[in-house]
């Protein structure tokens, strides 16, 4: 069973997910106040302006915090074994929820402050999911 997928129509996050098809991690910057807007939305959550521009992240960042999930009854995750969920602080200044993969043992090998980079996991629904692996 696949993971829960983003669902559309949802105009605020649609551009973010469209870009993942090209393995591009997009975020917004407000052209009025220059602050980063994330999660994606039409207006700037700092100043209310609707003038924002999309930029592409390098996909590199730091694990801000994490947990290793031992029990998730959702069918997509139930049989996955222990897996790490984390907030990642991207170098461009936005924080995204994701998973840390590509470690031998998520219980031992994920640390706060570790450097990570995006690793795309293509989905059957044609979007791609940004996950993160040690940089």
């Amino acid at each position: 069973m696949p993971r829960p997928q983003p669902r559309f129509p949802e105009p605020d996050t649609q551009p973010f997910w469209e870009a993942t098809k090209n393995h591009e991690l997009k975020y917004q910057v407000c052209t009025a106040c220059s602050k980063v807007v994330f999660f994606p939305r039409r207006h700037c959550n700092h100043c209310g302006s609707v003038e924002t521009e999309w930029r592409t992240s390098k996909g590199e960042g730091t694990v801000y915090t994490y947990s290793v999930v031992r029990l998730n009854r959702h069918p997509a995750f139930r049989d996955l074994g222990a897996y790490a969920v984390a907030y990642i602080d991207l170098d461009e200044g936005f924080r995204i929820l994701s998973n840390v993969i590509g470690v031998a043992d998520p219980l031992m090998d994920v640390k706060i402050g570790m450097r990570v980079r995006v690793k795309w996991e293509d989905q059957e629904s044609s979007i791609s999911l940004p996950l993160f692996e040690p940089a």
């Binding site: 983003p6 996050t13 947990s67 029990l71 984390a86 929820l97």
Partner: protein, 397 residues
């Protein structure tokens, strides 16, 4: 001390006794609890002119609940902000009463989360409902509700050196209170808890890990349940059966995931100062801390953010001789057994008000001698993400 306003008081309370109530609906729990809380106050069904509801019973709740109960209220408030809804509603009820818009406000709660097999903590996000920006940026990564709180705990440990042993002390004190509360013992029995007894720090650390670093015994139960609270004007309160428990300070706030923000800081840093300021009391004067214990880490963060100790010093704070009802130091917390060991049907906020009122009346099963001041702080939503904080300061005459 500035003079405290006595605008409204909790005059009636009821906690629905069962935590496993098959064949009963949330609406029935609400109605039965309403009748019993009114009887507790010495008031009657027809006295209610303010209806407060967290939309837990039915759609268009302000309308449908009025009809179901049989009320024609002058004030309707359906604030639904998760587990802290009842602290928000208590604040609103006090303001409505002070403004003369109603005299007797009724807050009710009913839930059958346990009988309905709702996996609140471990269900993951199902991706149900209408598409939303937040859902689309959360659902695919399999973060359970418990993992959300666990991420706060990890960060707290990283920033401040907090340990699992320190967090476990919260579970230990709470279980000790639960063992003195027959309804909590029955709750744990009916919900098939193992080893229903007082627990030690080692018991907590040896219980299975659910989402690192949170162990099973640091997580609240999922129960059925509910209750009701009646809040009345000073004129009504004067003639009630029970001694009034005055609402002397309130605060409401929200918090989100913020780019570059500190996940260990909750909405309480915004809701507590106006509440304490209005009450004219300091955190160190508070006898009873009814502090939303969805998880051990919730209590740790909230103690800090309410101002009981400095940010990051919660680990040391809970390691001193406090929390337990017979501890030397204040505050004594969650004396009913908390969400960890007595009652958590999803939105625990109403029980914080109920047990705080019991303490200030002298009716708790773990009564703190001479308790005069209490804080009830509800946390709604998820601590490591979008959440609310509602702070209520309560005093007896």
């Amino acid at each position: 001390m500035v003079s405290q306003r006595r605008d409204a008081a909790i005059v009636g309370i009821h906690e629905y006794p069962l935590r496993k109530a098959p064949g009963v609906t949330p609406l029935q729990i609400k109605a039965e609890s309403a009748a019993r809380a009114l009887a507790d106050a010495g008031l009657s069904w027809k006295d209610v002119d303010g209806l407060y509801d967290a939309q837990d019973g039915a759609g268009m709740s302000g309308l449908s609940l009025s009809e179901y109960f049989g009320f024609k209220p002058n004030v309707i408030d359906t604030t639904a902000v998760g587990g802290s809804s009842y602290e928000f509603q208590a604040a609103h009820a006090r303001r409505a009463i002070a403004a003369g818009k109603c005299r007797v406000a009724l807050l009710t709660y009913g839930s059958t989360a346990a009988s309905g097999m709702v996996h609140i903590g471990t269900g993951g996000r199902e991706g149900g409902g209408a598409p939303s920006p937040q859902g689309n940026m959360t659902d695919p990564w399999g973060v359970t509700l418990i993992a959300n709180y666990a991420m706060v705990a990890h960060r707290h440990m990283h920033q401040y050196g907090t340990t699992s042993e320190q967090l476990a002390r919260i579970s230990v004190a709470t279980r000790a209170h639960a063992m003195r509360n027959p309804e909590a013992v029955k709750a744990m029995t009916d919900l098939l808890f193992e080893n229903i007894r007082e627990i030690t720090v080692d018991d907590v650390l040896n219980s299975r890990m659910v989402a690192d670093p949170l162990h099973l015994l640091e997580c609240c139960m999922v129960s059925d349940g509910g209750g009701a609270v009646v809040i009345a004007s000073p004129e009504v309160a004067r003639d009630c059966r029970q001694k009034p428990v005055w609402i002397i300070g309130t605060g409401e706030a929200t918090k989100y995931v913020e780019n570059g923000g500190d996940i260990t800081v909750s909405a309480a840093v915004q809701s507590a100062p106006p509440a304490f300021g209005e009450a004219g009391v300091r955190p160190d004067e508070i006898d009873i801390g009814m502090i939303y214990d969805s998880f051990s880490i919730t209590v740790m963060c909230l103690l800090e953010d309410l101002g009981f100790c400095k940010k990051g010093e919660g680990g040391q704070f809970v390691s001193e001789d406090r929390l337990h009802f017979q501890s030397k130091l204040k505050p004594h917390i969650n004396t009913d057994g908390g969400g960890l060991s007595s009652n958590h049907p999803g939105m625990r906020g109403i029980f914080l008000l109920i047990e705080a009122a019991r303490q200030l009346r002298g009716q708790s099963t773990s009564q703190v001698e001479g308790a005069k001041l209490a804080v009830a702080h509800g946390n709604g939503g998820q601590l490591g993400g979008t959440h609310t904080g509602g702070t209520i300061i309560l005093a007896r005459d």
